[in-house]
Amino acid sequence: MTTDTTRTAVPAVEARGLHVRIGASHILRGIDLTVDDGEVVALLGANGSGKSTLVRSLVGILPASQGTVSLFGASLGRQVPWSRIGYVPQRVSAGTGVPSTAAEVVASGLLHGRRLRLPRDARERTLAALEQVGLADRAQHGVSELSGGQQQRVLIARALVREPDLLVLDEPVAGVDHPSQTAFAETLAGLVRQGTTLLVVLHELGSLAPLVTRSVVLRHGRKVHDGPAPLPTAEHAGDSHVHVHPHEGDDEPTVSLIQDGGFGS
C-alpha cells in the first residue's frame, strides 16, 4: 500500500474520448472518465449499457478503437505500474481444466508487468490475502470444490494480493447474499481508509453506498451522469423492493429490462 507521501496530482484512471467496437457493435461511444487518487467511484447502468466493457478496456483487456486510456499517468502498455492495479472480473468460474488450489490462483495475482516469477514471500502474502477475504482455511482446497461465492472471494483475494493502490471491481457482489455483501463492504471500507482508490461496477449501490464518493452512469454506451449518487427509480427504491439476482447468468429482473429497452450485452 502506497503511503500519502507518494500521492501526486496524477489521476489513477483517465480515459479520453474512448470508443470500443467489438465486431460490428459499437459498445462505447466516446467516454471521458477521470478517477482521482483516493476516490471511490461507482459505475452504474443497466445491463448492456457498457459498464463491463468500459472497465475491461480501462485495464487493457479490450483494445480501444479510438481514444486514450492512462493509468497513473502512463498510457496503457508496458509503462503502466501494473503492481499498483488490481482487477476483479465479473464472476467467472475460478476453475479450469486442471485442478488448482485457492492459494495457487491467488498467487498468480503476484505476477504483473515483467515480473514472471513469484517473489520469495509469495506464500505469506497469498495467505494474508486469503485471510482478508475470510478464506484462509480453504487455501489448499481445489477452487472447483468451493461455492460460487467463495470462488468470487478467491478472485478478490487474487486482486488484493499485490496490495494495489487502484482496485477495479466488476460487479463484485452480484448474486452474493446480504450478510456476505456487508462483510465485503467492510473489507472495502478498510482498504479505502488506507487510501485505496476504487472503481466499482454495480447494479445498485446497496451496502457500498456509504463508501461511494461519486457515481457515473452509463446508458447505451454514453456517460449520462457524473456526480453524486443518483436516486434510484421508484420501482427499485424502498425496502419493499426485493432484489432477486440469479446465481449465475446476467439476466436482469424483468422490470429493468422493460424499463431500459436495453440492447443486450
Binding site: 488448482s100 498468480s108 481445489g142
Partner: protein, 310 residues
C-alpha cells in the same frame, strides 16, 4: 530372480537400449509438462494438430534432402518436422487469439492438410508411405547418438521453459483476461507455450510416433487430475506417470517384440481406466460435507422442518 536380474543387466548393457531408454526418460518427463498447460487451456488436441503438421515437415525435409543430393535423404526429416511444427503451432495460436469459434476448424484443417501434404510430398521425394510409418508410429530403435543429443538439448529447453516459467504460464493459461489486466506479456507467453509444445511433439515423435504423441502429453495429466486438487501436484504426478509408463513400456518391448509407442500409450490409458475405477473405493467422495454453500436464508422460517444437520 537371478535370471531376471541378468536379463535386466543384458537390456541395460545394449547401447541401442541405453539410447532408447535415455530418450524415453526425457520424453516421459517433458511431454506431461506441456500437456498440463494444454489441458488447462482446454487445448488437449493441439498436440495432435501439431503432430499432423510435423508429418508434412518430415516429408518436406526429405524432399529437400533428396533435392540436395544428400546420401541419407532422411537427415533433414527431423529439422523439417521441428520447423513445420513450430510454424503450425504459432499459426494455431494466432487463429485462437483472433476468434475463438474458428480454432476448432483450424485444428481440423491442420489434421487433414498435414497428413495429406506429408503423403503427397513423400511421393514427390521418391519415397513411399512406408518411410512415413516410422514417424507416424515411432522408431525408437533407430535412435542414433546424434538424435540423442538433439533429444537431450530440446528436452532441456522444454523442461527449462515449462518448469522455470511455471507461475507465469499458469497465470496466462488459467485466466488470460486477468493476465492481460496484470500487464503480463500474454501474447509472448502464449507463443512460448505453442512453440515449446511443438518442440515436445518433435522430440516425442521418435519414441511414440506422431499419431500417439498427444497421448503422452495428455493421458498422464488426465490420470493425475483424477487424484489431485493442486496444479503443482498434477504436473508432478503427471511427470512421474509419464516417466514410469515410458520406461516400463519400452522395457516390455525389449522382451516382447511390440511397437514401443503403442505399448507405452496402452499402458497409460490402462492406468487411467484402473485409477478411474479404483478411485471411488480408495478415496470415497467426502459425503459429510454439505454441498450447499454457506448462505444466510433469505426467508425466515419460524416453524416447520429442522435445519439440515449436516
Amino acid at each position: 530372480m537371478t535370471t531376471f536380474l541378468s536379463e535386466l543387466g543384458g537390456m541395460l548393457s545394449t547401447p541401442l537400449m541405453q539410447r532408447s531408454l535415455i530418450a524415453a526418460v526425457i520424453v516421459g518427463l517433458a511431454a506431461p509438462v506441456m500437456g498440463t498447460y494444454l489441458v488447462q487451456r482446454r487445448l488437449s488436441l493441439l498436440g495432435d494438430g501439431i503432430g499432423h503438421v510435423a508429418l508434412t515437415g518430415v516429408a518436406l525435409g526429405w524432399l529437400v534432402g533428396s533435392a540436395m543430393g544428400l546420401v541419407d535423404s532422411e537427415v533433414l526429416a527431423v529439422p523439417g518436422a521441428v520447423v513445420a511444427a513450430v510454424i503450425g503451432a504459432v499459426a494455431i495460436e494466432m487463429v485462437r487469439e483472433r476468434g475463438r469459434t474458428s480454432g476448432d476448424v483450424a485444428l481440423a484443417l491442420l489434421f487433414y492438410g498435414g497428413i495429406a501434404g506429408g503423403v503427397l510430398l513423400i511421393g514427390i521425394a521418391g519415397g513411399t508411405n512406408a518411410n512415413l510409418m516410422a514417424y507416424l508410429f515411432g522408431s525408437i530403435s533407430t535412435v542414433t547418438t546424434s538424435d540423442l543429443y538433439l533429444t537431450v538439448g530440446l528436452g532441456v529447453v522444454i523442461l527449462g521453459v515449462g518448469l522455470g516459467l511455471r507461475s507465469a504460464l499458469f497465470a496466462v493459461s488459467h485466466d488470460e483476461e486477468f493476465a492481460r489486466a496484470s500487464g503480463l506479456p500474454v501474447r509472448a507467453l502464449n507463443v512460448a507455450v505453442a512453440v515449446v509444445a511443438a518442440l515436445t511433439v518433435t522430440v516425442s515423435m521418435r519414441v511414440v510416433g506422431l499419431l500417439l504423441v498427444s497421448a503422452l502429453m495428455i493421458v498422464p495429466v488426465a490420470v493425475a487430475q483424477l487424484v489431485t486438487t493442486s496444479f503443482r501436484r498434477t504436473m508432478g504426478l503427471a511427470m512421474t506417470i509419464g516417466l514410469t509408463v515410458c520406461v516400463t513400456g519400452l522395457s516390455i518391448t525389449y522382451w516382447q517384440a511390440q511397437s514401443p509407442g503403442a505399448t507405452i500409450v496402452v499402458l497409460a490409458v490402462g492406468l487411467y481406466v484402473a485409477v478411474a475405477l479404483l478411485r471411488p473405493l480408495v478415496r470415497p467422495q467426502r459425503a459429510t460435507a454439505d454441498p450447499h454453500p454457506d448462505m444466510m436464508d433469505d426467508v425466515s422460517i419460524t416453524e416447520g422442518a429442522d435445519r439440515c444437520s449436516e
